[in-house]
Symmetry: C2
Subunit: 218 residues, 2 copies
DNA sequence: AACACTTTGTTTAATTCTTGACAAACAAGA
DNA sequence: TCTTGTTTGTCAAGAATTAAACAAAGTGTT
């Protein structure tokens, strides 16, 4: 009941709130008002109050919100108070970048294994992990029980590998494949990331900039 | 007038339509109905018809939509019929991965230069480009006039470098910095990508999966 | 302690987005 | 050519989202 009542639009904003509050905390902020936060984030104060109200009353009239407490609360909603073991499939450019670049710990995950099908990269060290062969995947999953996986593999293998991982007990996919993963299982979470779509959005925004297009008379 | 009338929600869906139509075309589809496309994309047929109608009547009753024609039209809306010169700042893990992984041509851009502040990586070859020193940035921009830039640099430098690039004529930023770039210039487009937020969203989704949480009685 | 000021939580209103419904238009086969 | 079936474009109803408004509660200063 607690979670189901929070609308999707609110959920989509929560990671950003969490991030901003983290920055504020790092900068020594102890309290913040909805008005000031709205200013910083480019939202309305009304929306912020309404959002935070979805999961309890954390503010205090005349004072505002306690940054640390509020951040912790949002973190709990987002499930960041647990650490889910995660593996990476595909140690190509993108896989390596994610393994090195992402702060898994602060996002509720821990990267415990990296796998690749290419024998040439098996054995490479990335961060503190060395790349294993996909042949070891089943044995590894049986032993270490990862619950989440990052997919940085070719488009054509996404569905097959996802199904395999599900059979090994994986429940969440962070999918960077050029393919929209849609799992029939309703107990499996998927986050499809399409960097190409993001760049396309930038193209649209750029094309609308004044002076860019000839037919921008209207 | 043409563009301003398209709502934001529709725009956000356009890149995905474009991608799906590309896949369909590659698979030999010549025509498709809103009903069938809705099925494939997990949307309602009504929404698809309404979306496509925002920018003209491309369908035909009793027939559906011509895949190639529709895709081309959406591409035009998205500005994919031009090729905007783009540079990359930061040749670390993530920068390299993007340079290698993204199909710039089909997203309306062309990557023409890569820059890094670290002398150790200057001279490295990535794809067909070699990494240049940031010292050459101004001269390069004066000569080649890039209009867009990817930022894969440390958080603290994002704002400063963005301002510098704007003064060199850059009008669009694809920002992977852990920082929400907000440009006062209204003639500058920004697409902030926060992979960490995306992973956080997955954490939330996973935490809501049945059997995962103890307190999921309700 | 009293007063002026700030800020929340909540209600209500406005706006935006999505879905359902259906007539008009076309396709395809007899 | 006529008839049946399909599918669009569009309108209108229904949801969902966002913004505005305000009383109640607390702060901080004198």
């Amino acid at each position: 009941m607690s979670k189901n009542s929070i609308s999707n639009s609110v959920i989509r904003r929560l990671p950003r709130y969490h991030r901003f509050l983290g920055d504020l905390e790092a900068n020594g902020y102890v309290r913040i008002s909805s008005r000031e936060l709205a200013e910083k984030m480019g939202l309305t104060a009304s929306q912020i109050r309404q959002d935070f109200n979805c999961f309890g009353e954390f503010g205090q009239q005349g004072y505002g919100y306690n940054v640390k407490e509020l951040r912790g609360e949002i973190g709990k909603i987002l499930g960041l108070d647990v650490s889910t073991p995660m593996i990476l499939l595909g140690a190509g450019n993108l896989g390596r970048a994610l393994a090195a670049h992402i702060d898994f710990r602060n996002r509720g995950f821990e990267l415990i294994g990296i796998f690749d099908a290419n024998p040439a990269v098996v054995g490479d060290t990335i961060g503190e992990l060395s790349v294993r062969s996909v042949d070891e995947l089943e044995a590894f999953c049986t032993q270490h029980r990862p619950e989440a996986a990052i997919l940085c593999i070719p488009k054509g293998e996404a569905e097959k590998e996802a199904d395999r991982l599900i059979s090994y007990g994986v429940r969440a996919f962070w999918n960077f494949t050029h393919y929209d993963l849609r799992i029939s299982h309703k107990d499996v979470a998927v986050e499809n990331v399409h960097l190409g779509d993001s760049l396309t959005t930038l193209s649209y925004a750029l094309s609308g900039i004044s002076g860019k297009d000839k037919e921008d008379k209207e």
